[in-house]
Symmetry: C2
């Protein structure tokens, strides 16, 4: 894929070419230690002609538009599958690994979750992105010291923006 | 500080308010294991009204404009100083900590450097940003398995873009 506005897509990105762009929609969060909440989310994936996607995400309060979470990083497509590296303003970094993307589904699991001295501890994160046409569904499961068996935390359904 | 285009700056960001914006300029890289090289670099710092800066960096070949490195993350201002979390498309994540920013100088040292299964190992990274007026000078030192005592790797001098 090549456009007038950028370099040709690296062949390693063929399985995630549908991810390129901006997606926005509603999300719902829950966890054993907090009250359920709702959010609005925007996710974008970009490329520069190399075998990775640049990833950016932010969420905001659907009523007040106040910023909530954010995260950014890179999704590497390697022969073995995917490698996802992320940083969060909560002071957390993640290294995620997963198998090759099949039919738009990207599932990955943390091999590293580390934080700054003042960050709240997160032990493990599992993520799943499912792209069907122009709809991207995002799920996240998280393990913390208080919830050592892990639990589903976030689900959002995002629509491709024109 | 408040503008028509965004929220008021969080008071914790007072020492880095000069960092807000986009800086661009020339850089030079060197390391015991590679040939010296030159690059063009752009760095941006943004905020959303919370006590962190969103950070984004990219470099490109000054002759061909081909993309070289990139990194993105967040700079947290905490009472103890700064906490910097970053992700790289090379498959590396960093957690950096440093003392409070004084007179525009932000110096930090990695407490965590981790990578994906296929990333090249980096053991330690030290960073320094020095802002004098509209000039931001960036230095980076790196320790790898091949250079266990560490060495200076990158220096760039960036100018605030209007």
């Amino acid at each position: 894929m090549s456009t007038a506005h950028g370099p040709a897509l690296h062949p390693a990105l063929a399985s995630v070419s549908g991810y390129l762009g901006v997606f926005e929609g509603d999300g719902a969060g829950d966890y054993p230690t907090i009250e359920a909440f709702r959010y609005r989310e925007q996710v974008s994936f970009g490329h520069v002609g190399k075998p990775f996607l640049a990833y950016e995400q932010r969420t905001w309060n659907p009523d007040t538009a106040a910023p909530m979470h954010a995260e950014r990083g890179y999704l590497r497509l390697v022969p073995e599958g995917v490698e996802f590296v992320l940083a969060h303003p909560t002071g957390i970094v993640e290294v995620q690994q997963g198998p090759p993307v099949v039919e738009g589904t990207m599932a990955c699991t943390s091999t590293v979750v580390e934080g700054t001295a003042t960050a709240e501890e997160v032990r493990h994160v599992r993520r799943r992105f499912q792209l069907e046409g122009d709809v991207l569904t995002v799920d996240l499961w998280m393990t913390t010291p208080e919830v050592p068996d892990g639990a589903h935390h976030l689900r959002s359904v995002l629509h491709r923006q024109v």
